[in-house]
Symmetry: C2
Subunit: 248 residues, 2 copies
DNA sequence: AATGGGAGTTGCAAAATATGCAACAACTGA
DNA sequence: TCAGTTGTTGCATATTTTGCAACTCCCATT
């Protein structure tokens, strides 16, 4: 481990909670302010950090560049785009693409609803593991040891009346996902939206990503949502084929 | 300057051009592979970097988190959202929000067109300075010394038949932006799209960000686009008011 | 206008870490 | 099974990082 680097990256993470002064940042990493300044100067030269007025530092624009590049590096995103865009155009609802990365589920693409609505999800954000359709799809495909490892640190905060709040109930839900070949979010994450999700597979049948379609309850009831399941599964299969999957 | 940190951040930047092996990364920063490994281990522990298979490293998910947070830190984005969302809903065309940061113009929000279309712009990406409406709006408001500084390093690659390709012509264009109170991209960036942009101002009249509306030429000709100028200017003013601007 | 306090900045000697080396481990293809 | 490639490790040495004390700059108060 590189101590100097560790300190610098801690500074960057600390700036995630808002702009801070040199003294504040020194306090966080426990070194002299002249040392902190030297680290900030280097971070600034790489644009990870920038001055915000005279006294504050904040996160810099290199993060945008790198985050965009990190997204575009994910081949499944490019391969899935035509199918997902088409689903969004035909049905007019929000479509997400998410992938599993190191114990987290990240939204890597999103096509906005034709109807004006605000959702939690944004490209680059993590999806909560316990209550989103995409996360259920992705965790359902993990090998048992990896799934146990994730569950060991997973939390189950109740976000709506329907949220799954125990590991046991969650494992049962993942069994249903495996049996059905798709997942649902029955207003478990945000109480005005429900959602269906399906896996996008690769050449060897492994799950590369998950696609989901989210609809406000006022526009479509749950049965109406499920009526779109064939569309979603067809979209997932079309995207899978683009990723090298050979259907049976 | 912190040499160790500088090397580590160079590694991160290098991974922007695709996954790389330990040896490749050592070659880039000119240190022994055991040193490179130690730097990568620290980057990995902060999730700036992750393993991609057994032999490659690639950009990690912390970049998504930080980029999202960096975006949401920008108050103008939150303040402008209602006005921009409304413009997008009423007219159905792509609406962008961009801000000026350290010599660059960054898209910080985007509302997709009702019509299926693919554009260069993405949230977090830089807008080319010489040929986008948002960049013209933002550069037109810079004090002369800062503008000269930007122009000193600015490039003018021809992207379409209409692209401005010289500093002199660009300065004339900025004069027009100042006189008109709005900017146009007359298919200068992407030859199938034109675009109008306007400033969003703060409490002291300073330009905080730029809003733009982009339309494919096949949907609306240039006169048709200009007919929407009152809508765009009204949106920019509504957003400005949310940012503390007091109209005259 | 002067002053004091807060925050940023600097040069350098001392303290501490980063570094490279050489050997080893693991994996893969022939 | 073996060779080559790539990742990994412990430790002595080389080099950088660090803290100090003083300085500069800016802003608010008197």
């Amino acid at each position: 481990m590189s101590q100097s680097l560790d300190r610098a990256l801690t500074l960057v993470s600390q700036l995630a909670s808002g702009p801070k002064t040199l003294d504040e940042l020194s306090g966080v990493i426990g070194v002299h302010k002249s040392t902190t300044l030297r680290l900030l100067r280097t971070l600034e030269s790489h644009r990870f950090v920038q001055r915000d007025g005279v006294h504050h530092y904040r996160l810099g624009t290199a993060l945008f560049d790198l985050a965009n590049i990190a997204l575009e590096e994910r081949d499944v995103r490019r391969a899935a785009e035509p199918a997902l865009r088409d689903l969004n155009a035909r049905l007019g609802h929000t479509v997400h693409l998410a992938s599993y990365e190191d114990g987290e589920v990240i939204y890597i693409d999103k096509y906005e609803s034709r109807h004006q609505m605000r959702m939690y999800s944004r490209i680059g954000r993590r999806a909560p593991l316990h209550c989103t359709a995409v996360a259920k799809v992705l965790l359902a495909d993990l090998p048992a040891p990896a799934l146990q490892k994730v569950l060991a640190t997973m939390e189950f905060p109740r976000l709506t009346a329907n949220t799954i709040t125990s590991p046991a109930a969650y494992l049962e839900e993942l069994d249903r996902v495996r049996a059905n070949g798709y997942a649902v979010d029955n207003a478990e994450h945000e109480d005005f939206i429900h959602c269906i999700g399906a896996p996008i597979k690769g050449a060897r049948g492994e799950v590369l990503a998950a696609v989901s379609m989210s609809v406000p309850k006022v526009l479509l009831d749950f049965d109406g949502l499920l009526a779109h399941l064939p569309d979603l599964l067809a979209t997932a299969e079309a995207a899978s084929v683009e990723c090298g999957y050979v259907p049976r």
